[in-house]
Symmetry: C2
Subunit: 543 residues, 2 copies
């Protein structure tokens, strides 16, 4: 790559290799974002209360199925009415209100690199990369099934770009690694490549333990020390409507007991898994969140839990989720009102349905980012890289999203209105008909006064055509390539990496033994096949 | 065009021509939009007041240049301190506060088609097409200098799409028509092709009179009746900093006297025509607006005036306006706070800098639309079709913008939280583990429950590839073509069209006589050349 192909991220240039000069990528410096402005309200406080009461009524009168007996035990002990034959627990409002009272309003996640410690709650606003797509795509090699190599590349981009505050989990599923050992490989690469707050793979209790063990090793902590130091998190989806399967319920309990925050996000589709009305879908989805919150607070009082809204509607023509549409934006904003009612941090998502990193992907994403921020979002999952309703990670969309998130972060910065910034003396000096190109204030501050875009350009049409008339997606292509070149592995003491690595080897052998027989292989193949079939309908377990 | 090429705007199909079937374009029905939700505040009320006082201080101590003696006369009579040698008027705060008091909070613009009457003020939210680019582009024929034929095509699109509530003026400049007669041709085509509220061409007093005459004829009104019936509007830009040239000042006075609303929009570039600080740029730009407001209210007390914010920063690398960036979004939102302080309707803009209808154009546009709506925007100018910092109208961007505006309109619709929409009975009936595809509520409402997109699609990757893997911009291409096919000329009594047309002919002759000599030709050529040169730098008079 030459200076010509690195886009317009101008500024200083530096020498690389045999005399080549190139502009470095001009991104915002690392900092946690903040949204100190009033949050948007789409419904009244009375209506928020009505939604809450609707959710409570569902929990009391309809109840929630938990397929994990331990979950039913905890709930029964707390006073819920449990029907073992149907695995159903009807949860009284007193139990719910107590859980809301116990849940902390804020959680700080520390990281191996203290600079990358983040805080979730209040006005804080934090972003992650896309999580879980089985495919990845870019303009160079097209769309393909996820590999561990692509996983590592995208993880490097997540480390490189400062707007990715935390690792969102697998930026692409390494489908070339067998399922029983996939989380081990994925965790090791994540910890090697990034020093940002890592994600805990949580599809089973074993995977949670494996990931927490490796995270503790990379941090140089014992598992007990890790418990007292929130350092990772996991996402639990419900099996809507009103079900927690064994691994989901176990995930809630395990993460709570290990002191790490849980994001409970019902995958809520109005007209499919939820009522067709937005209020009905939000109330039901919120009931599912509250059930998980109760379970977490019963497992460990004071367990940090985030509420995640991702209610959207089903597209009645295709049966697929209409991610990124106006119903999704509305439910995102109302979800924020509920989160403030409960005093728990709020997770949102940067969703879109487009099959390419095109205009559709971007207007849906920019709308998702705005609705999230207006809602008071604390954690934006999938902030960068998501396309195809979550089935694919796009390298170019990753960079486009970075630009959109950066713009939002700058938009949220306070505007100073003071004698100095009103600059009356300059206005009087320049007077009518002059200009401000060379006034003292301009000369002093012009280099940093305004946002310096990553992709956007104000070049005129002629200059743009001369440079190849590359659209924003093609300019983004050059940027991720440069980012991969510029990426630097964060330091980690050799003995910690060694510990995590040999531990992984041991666990791998054990896991492989369990799939060495015919039955194990068949189980693996069927599990994997099920995942793909399910996802090909774009329904099912959400990332 | 066949059913295969019309995209996925599915629904009913209808027969056209020789047995072809095609889905009609599935757009939102006509209605004026409303934003009943709380508006965003980026600064405190105290800071708003500080900005206002900053503007007042500029008006009192620095003053504004008006090159039109009549404007200085009006201001002097009102008590301003006028320096004739410098054409400068220093305007006291009492004069300013009186003008603010006189300006109406709302204006209703009636149209030839009563259905297309719109109201500007309060929670109302109204959109126009792009105004004034000298070039147009689409995927079929590329970018070219504006022609009257392209003007008519884009005007038809403005009439066809329901989210365009008012005509924004020339959707492309008909550069193939000589300047002295261009407004006559443009006005006639506008009135023939559209029955939405028309724009008044206002670069000179003569053009204002010509356009108002033709609008009155098309309405079957006298000019006196038109004065009592606000039916059109014009945009006045200042010559920043702190100058109103002759035609701008005359435009304010004429429009006020003729009872038609004026949008006063300083073209405010922080670091170029304005101080480099956002507060300084907004205070100065607001001072220019207030000066125009004073002039309008002196010309005719109670004249309807809209305040228009389009403060953005200059890109210090290219010297061009950084339309659509975060500084622009901030100033848009703060502009709304000032507009509410003054109780006048608020105009915003859907700006972007991109040279194509690509991802950049769209993230800037979606951000512009969100910041406008969050600011309490009453009139979104350039809502559809703008690219290249206003130098070019894109047919595909037009359609992409329609989709974005539609989504916003649906997002703003109230969410009903009631017994009926909470749908407890359905939740109880479906219970855990069921689905809502075939519940009574879903079956009753699924056809209309959710937004039906124009371009967005939830089709899976395989189906999308089979259909040609067309990105959103290419799907937008098919949609504008279909819109032009489906367009129907709105009815107008033959005698009114005849009156406007023969009047245009007479005026044309007179105007041509004035440019028939050598001097006239040279004047025309130099005027036109100046426009193009100026615009090629992307600065200068803003559309």
């Amino acid at each position: 790559m030459t200076a010509e192909t690195t886009g317009e991220a101008a500024g200083r240039t530096r020498r690389r290799g045999a005399g080549r000069t190139r502009a470095p990528i001009n991104q915002l410096p690392w900092r946690q974002f903040s949204n100190p402005h009033p949050k948007l309200r789409l419904i009244s406080d009375d209506e928020v209360e009505r939604l809450h009461q609707g959710s409570v009524r569902i929990l009391e009168e309809v109840g929630v199925r938990f397929f994990l007996p331990e979950a039913l035990d905890l709930l029964e002990t707390a006073g819920a009415i449990v029907d073992r034959a149907d695995s159903r627990a009807r949860i009284g409002r007193d139990i719910v209100e107590e859980a809301i009272r116990l849940a902390p309003a804020r959680v700080t996640l520390s990281s191996r690199n203290p600079r990358h410690t983040v805080s979730l709650g209040g006005d804080e606003f934090v972003c992650t990369n896309v999580l879980g797509p089985p495919f990845s795509t870019n303009l160079d090699r097209g769309r393909r099934s996820g590999t561990l190599a692509d996983y590592a590349e995208l993880m490097k981009l997540a480390q490189f770009f400062n707007v990715v505050h935390m690792i969102g989990g697998s930026p692409v599923e390494p489908m070339d690694v067998e399922v029983p050992v996939r989380h081990l490989e994925a965790a090791l690469v994540m910890l090697e490549v990034s020093d940002k707050v890592p994600y805990t793979f949580c599809h089973s209790v074993q995977r949670i333990h494996d990931t927490l063990d490796m995270i503790a090793m990379a941090r140089g902590l014992t598992r007990e020390q890790l418990r007292d130091t929130p350092s990772t998190y996991a996402i639990i989806n419900t099996n809507s409507p009103l079900q927690y399967d064994t691994s989901m319920a176990a995930g809630v309990i395990e993460m709570a007991r290990h002191g790490q925050p849980i994001l409970i996000t019902p995958f809520s589709l109005a007209g499919a898994s939820m009522p067709v009305t937005l209020a009905g879908a939000i109330a039901l989805s919120n009931a599912e969140f509250l059930a998980g919150l109760v379970l977490a607070e019963l497992a460990r009082p004071g367990a940090p839990v985030l509420t995640g809204a991702k209610t959207t509607n089903v597209d009645m023509r295709t049966g697929s989720p209409a991610f990124g549409g106006p119903e999704f934006q509305k439910s995102t904003i109302i979800g924020g009102q509920l989160a403030r009612r409960y005093g728990v941090p709020y997770r949102c998502s940067n969703f879109c349905t487009s099959n390419a990193a095109d205009a559709e992907a971007v207007y849906q994403a920019e709308g998702a980012i705005w609705s999230a921020v207006m809602s008071g979002c604390n954690l934006l999952m999938h902030a960068v890289g998501w396309i195809e309703g979550g089935l694919c990670a796009s390298y170019e969309k990753f960079v486009l999203d970075v630009e959109m998130v950066q713009m939002m972060a700058v938009m949220l910065e306070p505007v100073e209105v003071s004698e100095a910034t009103l600059a009356f003396e300059e206005v009087a000096m320049v007077g009518p008909g002059g200009h401000y190109f060379s006034t003292p204030l301009t000369l002093d501050t012009y280099k940093t006064a305004f946002y310096q875009p990553l992709i956007s350009s104000t070049r005129n049409y002629g200059a743009w055509v001369e440079d190849g008339a590359r659209d924003a997606t093609h300019r983004a292509n050059a940027i991720w390539k440069q980012a991969l070149e510029d990426y630097e592995t964060p330091p980690m003491p050799a003995e910690r990496l060694e510990a995590a690595s040999s531990w992984r080897n041991g666990r791998q052998k054990a896991a492989r033994r369990s799939i060495s027989g015919w039955a194990g292989r068949a189980r693996w193949a069927s599990h994997n096949g099920w995942r793909l079939t399910w996802r090909s309908h774009r329904g099912g377990r959400a990332p």
